[in-house]
Symmetry: C2
Subunit: 100 residues, 2 copies
DNA sequence: CGTGTAAGGAATTCTGACACG
DNA sequence: CGTGTAAGGAATTCTGACACG
């Protein structure tokens, strides 16, 4: 369930290299509640590959002029949809006694 | 083929957190040709999850008293075996016209 | 051989703030 | 609102070396 994609191990400098986004913007999107990096003991932010994908999506929406508040709402909706899907899948699997 | 596991994005401090190995040892194993981190533009080492797994294996062997030279030989053998396996699989897949 | 440590410099990251719009 | 920038300090990383064994 928790794969490499979700491990928070990438520093902001590398995220910047990978996404092209300024560190300012990356931190700002966190401030707006769009991403949630972990921290090392001494406070350095750590991101996952999943975070990076999220950042790319955010950047695309921003280019279209979508505000961070809207983006946040959209992300929440999508998350809820996924949760529902997973619940459904879980029930189906239980019913048919399938695995994985 | 190239997944998150192979992307070199992790700085040495995080590798240290993840493996428990000192930065000195991590750099030394590179010096001995056991791992090959990438570098950022300004020279900071970047490791992959795969590198981290390799480091754990190295640490285990070292605990058993195996020297780095030996470890290197073993890793080379394993690599060759994998290459052979992949070639064989490729031929089989071609023969049976399978995919993936 | 393998690893610790102290050394000094360079690059990184952090926060809070001011700017513009 | 979203993002750039300059500011100052703290933490990180790098290399080359000496130490011990």
């Amino acid at each position: 369930m928790t794969s490499y994609k979700d491990k928070k191990v990438i520093t902001i400098g590398i995220v910047h290299e990978l996404t092209g986004l300024s560190e300012r913007r990356i931190r700002y999107y966190e401030e707006r509640g769009l991403i949630f990096p972990d921290r090392t003991k001494r406070g350095t932010r750590k991101y996952s590959f999943h975070d990076i994908e999220t950042l790319m999506k955010i950047a695309n929406k921003r280019e279209e002029g979508v505000q961070t508040t809207e983006i946040k709402k959209d992300m929440l909706k999508e998350k809820k949809r996924n949760v529902r899907e997973e619940m459904l899948r879980g029930q189906l699997n239980a019913y048919f006694k399938r695995k994985e």
